[in-house]
Symmetry: C3
Subunit: 175 residues, 3 copies
Amino acid sequence: MPQPTPRMTLVLGGARSGKSAYAETLIEACPGPWLYLATAQAFDDEMVDRIAQHRARRPEAWRTRNVPLALPEAVAEAEGPVLVDCLTLWLTNLILAEADLEEATAQLVAACTRAPGPLVLVGNEVGLGIVPDNALARRFRDAAGRLHQRLAAEADRVVLTVAGLPLIVKPGASA
Amino acid sequence: MPQPTPRMTLVLGGARSGKSAYAETLIEACPGPWLYLATAQAFDDEMVDRIAQHRARRPEAWRTRNVPLALPEAVAEAEGPVLVDCLTLWLTNLILAEADLEEATAQLVAACTRAPGPLVLVGNEVGLGIVPDNALARRFRDAAGRLHQRLAAEADRVVLTVAGLPLIVKPGASA
Amino acid sequence: MPQPTPRMTLVLGGARSGKSAYAETLIEACPGPWLYLATAQAFDDEMVDRIAQHRARRPEAWRTRNVPLALPEAVAEAEGPVLVDCLTLWLTNLILAEADLEEATAQLVAACTRAPGPLVLVGNEVGLGIVPDNALARRFRDAAGRLHQRLAAEADRVVLTVAGLPLIVKPGASA
């Protein structure tokens, strides 16, 4: 990581591709304190485990705020280095809450555009498999793709993690 | 886009990765008129919407020809800048029509190899998820992968779009 | 392929992305004899066909050893250029055999770390689609992602094949 973390970075990756760990290194390269905006909701044991694993990896210097839905507001209020983990669960929560995805997406993009940074956003890339049978999964996949495109257009740097390694999609200027 | 559009470009990408919009910019960087070879068939409302969205984005300078099956012939006859969108729906149409995929693929590769260009072909990358349960989906996935490999070998430039951004897989020479 | 094959290379790719053929070229660029460590088990006709297609592509200079489960031991014993194809089927075999994935993974990583090389390992990238409904598929996907991350950390070079072309994820030093 020779370059300083820019104002806004989008980290995309598949399942277990190391995207959260990579994103944390970007934030931890900045002077703290660090804010973790967590969107996960623990509906089942599998998710409880995943949240615990993520939390165990982070040192005490992280403050955590749970924002399953109010992510745009939290980004707008945040100061200092901020990690959003992850966009995918936020979209899932919005769909389950029958929220207006267009409006929520526009709010998040606006908040990110104005954020002082460094801001690092993590999302699951879910569009590279066979078209899902399920209409809800297709709707989710489309919403995720559109959100990633809009955030990528604003981001200074975009990275796709593969097997824990960053593949640079948008090289970006430093902050 | 500093480089001119080469004779043949293959644009692969996941769902909602911005592959069609990116491919259109490649063609629109060339002197028109531009030919759009569309393979989509509107079987349901979801597809009607997607086709309408794609069409609404293209300016009037585009001529559109619908070729759900006769894509190799259309590429062979075309003059000037041509966009094929997309290979994935063409393969789906061939499978539904119980056509000979090997032969159709060979015809398309031959037509592309001889095309004067600039020719830009768009395809969905569908092979990076879990193996589908469904035998037909596996057969489709294999056919798509083989077609992409054969076209990529002939193409001057190959791009994978991620969140609307081009990741260069084969740098290519300019036309 | 201007660079010599390094001590350890990880080749990831989607279905029909050309990862095996690419990996074979890396090994065949080295002085033989070449050892093929095959993990596939022919449970059904589809798999029999795939194994036969892979085998038909390899020249006689290849020796083949079938190691559906005992891959770490085979890597530890091997001398000269070795191709492991593939990690994904090995993990599948371990899960079907109800083996301890953590322990097997640790053994394989240790064997690869000590191998003199050139060693080329092929794996399916399966994490870039929609989250599978099926808990077993999610468990497999997590295990594959973790294994790839650990091997990628040890590898000199990591490549993602797309449409038969290598996208370099970790550039690596030559052997």
